[in-house]
């Protein structure tokens, strides 16, 4: 017999509210390590501001390096959180609940980290606000023809919409946590809940708003990484000037975003004991998505080389020949292995339902995608039109490495703090699923353990 909804609701709330309990020494230890790495990254940035961009490994003609690689990588990571959450919401996929909240948070933090890198990359980073479209003292606006301005507008829009999507989803949970949350945080939850009482009028408008935000987030997510790709594609540099860059970047972004989702969700499930809410079915579905995107990536890589040969453009052909056989060839090989070859293992159901194996493949995919961005940015610049300008191998300095490590530390730090302050699974959506199951007299668990 199925428990009555009220009882079931209480059990679900207890399970999720438990994740907000005071953490142990391991949590604080991890936070301390991440803070130390982040602190070193901040010091590296201070050092760079003091001494100028020369402390980075830039050397002509490679004037975009690790910072822009990090920018494109992190903006790519954003693409699976809000996007997948929104797509699954619009399709009413029942397995969405287990993965949506953490993924949306992942998106927000990845945008926050990614958006810092164009600023870090600036010679005078304190003038970053010149990107904003306001009229300056010389009565001039920004040049809207520049893809860098498109980037600014698109990324700020995506950040705003993603934060809104995450926050709106949190409101009903905040209303509950103001009575059930731990300690002083109840006051914070009360303020954040905006006085939500769950009246029929509020739910009625809430459902409508949530649907519209989801519908807005999908084309927006696709447009953002298309625009990031146009930073490159609108330049005439061989290796960048390609019409397939927008879909190529978007599919790569979803690929890396899914990999990051898997990498975050598996430890989250294990540490908080959320096996009933993040089942193997969730991870199998994410594994299938990762495999699908990997196949698309493989096709895109193949097409890039094919177009370079078939177009008859000697500059393009030479760039790709160099990418495959030149000084950056090892990176290209690792990129192919991580993004195309290793994910093929996911064709095996046994592998994609084994969380350890899935985690290893996801980490490989993340490494592969970072290297892919590196190959696109650096190897293309290193082989421009003029052979006389071809320089030495670009080598990142400790400053770039520290800032890169700091970005990862900052991202994981924000995520760790988030999952201890806010419920990592939507309580109200869990209850909605439980109520639906209760009506059907079925198991109250949102998604059955099928594997």
């Amino acid at each position: 017999m199925t428990a009555r909804p009220g009882t079931e609701f209480r059990r679900l709330s207890d399970d999720i509210v438990r994740t907000l309990d005071p953490p142990g020494a391991v949590y604080y230890g991890t936070i301390a390590v991440l803070l130390a790495i982040l602190g070193f990254g901040v010091y590296a940035f201070y050092y760079q501001v003091q001494n100028g961009l020369g402390v980075a490994g830039y050397q002509h003609p490679v004037q975009w390096g690790v910072y822009i690689t990090n920018f494109v990588f992190w903006i790519g990571i954003t693409h699976s959180g809000t996007l997948i959450s929104a797509v699954l919401f619009l399709f009413r996929a029942p397995w969405r609940t287990g993965v949506a909240r953490a993924s949306e948070a992942m998106t927000v933090f990845a945008i926050m980290i990614g958006a810092l890198f164009p600023i870090i990359h600036l010679g005078r980073p304190y003038f970053f606000y010149w990107l904003m479209p306001y009229i300056n003292e010389r009565q001039l606006y920004v040049n809207f023809r520049s893809p860098l301005i498109w980037d600014f507008v698109a990324i700020m829009t995506y950040l705003t919409v993603s934060v809104t999507f995450l926050y709106v989803g949190l409101i009903p949970d905040m209303a509950e946590l103001q009575h059930r949350g731990p300690g002083w945080r109840r006051r914070v939850y009360r303020i954040l809940s905006l006085g939500w009482v769950g009246s029929d009028r509020q739910w009625y408008h809430y459902m409508s708003l949530y649907g519209f935000l989801a519908a807005i987030a999908i084309p927006l997510a696709v447009s953002v990484h298309s625009i990031v790709s146009w930073d490159f594609a609108t330049a005439i540099t061989p290796g960048w000037h390609s019409t397939i860059f927008a879909p190529y970047f978007v599919s790569g972004a979803i690929f890396s975003g899914v990999a990051m989702m898997i990498m975050l969700l598996i430890p989250l499930r294990t540490v908080f004991g959320l096996d009933a809410y993040m089942t193997r079915l969730h991870f199998e579905n994410l594994g299938k998505l990762l495999l699908t995107m990997s196949l698309i990536m493989g096709y895109a890589y193949g097409m890039e080389f094919f177009i370079a040969w078939y177009s008859g453009n000697i500059f393009e052909r030479d760039t790709f020949l160099d990418r495959a056989t030149g000084q950056y060839a090892p990176f290209t090989m690792v990129m192919f292995a991580c993004n195309v070859v290793i994910p093929l293992l996911l064709f095996s159901k046994r592998i994609r339902t084994h969380l350890g194996a899935l985690m290893a493949i996801a980490i490989a995919a993340l490494i592969g995608m970072w290297i892919e961005r590196y190959v696109i940015v650096v190897s293309s610049l290193s082989r421009g039109f003029d052979p006389a300008a071809w320089g030495e191998l670009y080598q990142p300095t400790w400053v770039e490495v520290a800032l890169t490590a700091g970005s990862f530390a900052g991202f994981f730090l924000l995520f760790l703090v988030f999952v201890k302050v806010f419920p990592c699974i939507s309580i109200s959506e869990l209850k909605e699923g439980a109520a639906a199951h209760s009506e059907a007299d079925a198991s109250p668990t949102v998604v059955p353990e099928t594997v």
Binding site: R4, G6, R10, R145, V153, M156, V161, V197, H205, K431
Partner: protein
């Protein structure tokens, strides 16, 4: 004549939906329901039209599209950057900026509509509100004439309502 408010607490959404529907059908008073999760039966019983949030979203998106096209176009005319015989106003930037700002203001318009229509932020709780309605219980509050109070109570109890409370 002063109105009376009657609250009934329900263990599930189906009972609350039955009560809301019954009171509404018999036109006994104004119904307000509370639930910890969106309950489609309750929403179906009390709301038959489409939420005007879509209008707020549309207006926001329309305004955003206009501003996202008009501002870049104005700047291109205000300080022409004529390069290689290309048109003074080039279309691609207008499409990109127009789309992004349309999405931005569409989302913010929807949120504005949601906050105003849902009367949020609210500094005080509604009369007879019980915090369990955000946790594990459903509530139906009926505002009616005192003459109808007995019929409303009967209706709520018949639908499975418990802990009936009344405020005049």
């Amino acid at each position: 004549m002063s109105q009376v408010r009657i609250l009934a607490v329900f263990d599930d959404g189906a009972g609350a939906a039955r009560a809301a529907s019954s009171v509404r059908t018999q036109d006994l008073g104004e119904v307000q329901a509370y639930s910890p999760t969106p309950d489609h039966a309750i929403l179906g019983a009390l709301h038959h039209d489409v939420s005007p949030i879509r209008l707020f979203t549309l207006l926001g998106a329309g305004l955003g599209c206009f501003l996202g096209v008009a501002l870049p176009a104005y700047t291109m005319l205000d300080w022409p950057l004529i390069t290689g015989g290309k048109p003074t106003i080039s279309i691609p930037p207008l499409v990109v900026i127009g789309f992004a700002v349309a999405m931005l203001l569409g989302a913010l318009g929807g949120v504005t509509g949601f906050l105003s229509l849902s009367r949020l932020p609210a500094l005080s709780r509604p009369v007879l509100y019980d915090h369990r309605f955000s946790e594990d219980r459903f509530g139906v509050v009926v505002t009616c004439d005192p003459a109808q109070a007995d019929s409303v109570r009967a209706c709520l109890e018949q639908a499975g309502g418990e802990e009936l409370k009344e405020q005049k």
